[in-house]
Symmetry: C2
Subunit: 234 residues, 2 copies
């Protein structure tokens, strides 16, 4: 498979068109960004780790019957994925209160949600990714009621699969962000699943093992990603 054109370059990934119809190459970069791009560093090795971690999770989900864009990992930084028409929505599942939610709603970090909370955000950097209700999603024409319901069901299924898998490896899945797209009229999970897009806490110590180490300048960033990979591969 040959890369033929750079389709899109985001903060952490590049998407390449290939000579294989309907297939793209997703390349993971070493750029770490936070606060809508205000904070930006290159962290050597991050892309390689996220490609591996993401490949593990997508494989797990594909095997569990979730339709994802993941086909195969083909190099240190690259995976082959199905080309999707992405929906401009970030779907966030929260098992435990953390991050923006804590600040926005004034609740204590660490509060557990059972059932988990599913949130939707408009992907729009200029607007700072505003939060959406389900009614906003459909009223703004971002997707249909049917795909929205399907997305929510899929997000909760992903949560249940990942939570169980990670628990066995001593990791608490605090929250995570998913992005979906359409392929031939079907909803497919796209993007990545990595410590850039999930909050992982060590189940025993509560130690942060995700991008919050970068956001909060905690140090030990690449070591934490390495440890996630170690536990996920075990």
């Amino acid at each position: 498979m040959k890369k033929t054109k750079r389709l899109y370059e985001g903060k952490a990934k590049i998407l390449w068109e290939t000579d294989s119809p309907g297939r793209m190459i997703q390349e993971f970069k070493d750029d770490a960004t936070a606060f809508n791009g205000v904070k930006h560093e290159i962290i050597s090795g991050k892309g390689v780790l996220n490609n591996q971690i993401s490949s593990h999770f997508f494989t797990l989900l594909n095997e569990a019957g979730v339709t994802t864009h993941f086909v195969e990992k083909i190099s240190e930084r690259e995976m082959v994925v199905d080309r999707l028409e992405m929906l401009p929505i970030e779907v966030v599942v929260r098992n435990v209160a953390a991050g923006s939610m804590v600040k926005r709603l004034g609740i204590e970090a660490g509060r557990r949600f059972d059932p988990p909370i599913v949130e939707y955000y408009l992907k729009d950097d200029d607007l700072n990714d505003p939060i959406l209700s389900e009614e906003h999603v459909t009223a703004l024409g971002l997707t249909t009621h049917e795909f929205l319901a399907e997305m929510k069901t899929a997000a909760l299924k992903v949560n249940s699969i990942l939570t169980g898998f990670l628990e066995e490896r001593g990791i608490r899945l605090v929250d995570f962000k998913l992005e979906f797209g359409l392929k031939d009229g079907r909803l497919v999970l796209g993007d990545e699943i990595s410590p850039d897009t999930c909050r992982f806490h060590d189940a025993t110590s509560g130690r942060i093992m995700d991008k919050d180490r970068f956001r909060q300048d905690l140090g030990g960033f690449i070591e934490a990603y390495n440890e996630v990979l170690d536990r996920v591969s075990s």
Copy 2:
């Protein structure tokens, strides 16, 4: 009925305990505030107008079978209301895009929503009244699933009643905010319904006839409120 104690003083109203059990007096002040209290003026006569307008709307709703706290208007600035245990939620119904929604979601003002959009906000000045999804409302324990569903149904019923009533009087109901409370375990509509809490546009010219005249320094504020009262009483 005698006022016995000042229970609560807000930006635009005072609630008085009375010698009549379960009844309060709601007194409308002339204070106009916007942007979470940053802008504040005294507009002579506003309280008198809002008490009259609100009494009209509550009477209309009571007659249509909506359970409201309104008992009767007893003076220029005062109405008797049932004492409620208020829920810390603002319920907003939007027929047309305007205000914070336009800025937050980057959509064009004037866009019509059919069905109307129902939004929930946490009443918390320190947090700037953050928007809530239905899941947030129940996960934060602000109210039960049952009351939330009842509140939504009531809000849409109020919308349908007011929209029809105002249309006949040449006023477009753009959006409005409601607050609910509990009395003896039953959900009851409280607060006020006035140009302070609704957006009213002249149906023909689109002229603004609500608190946006104050927020946007458009002038003719009290004249607009007067005209709303004239049309509502006709």
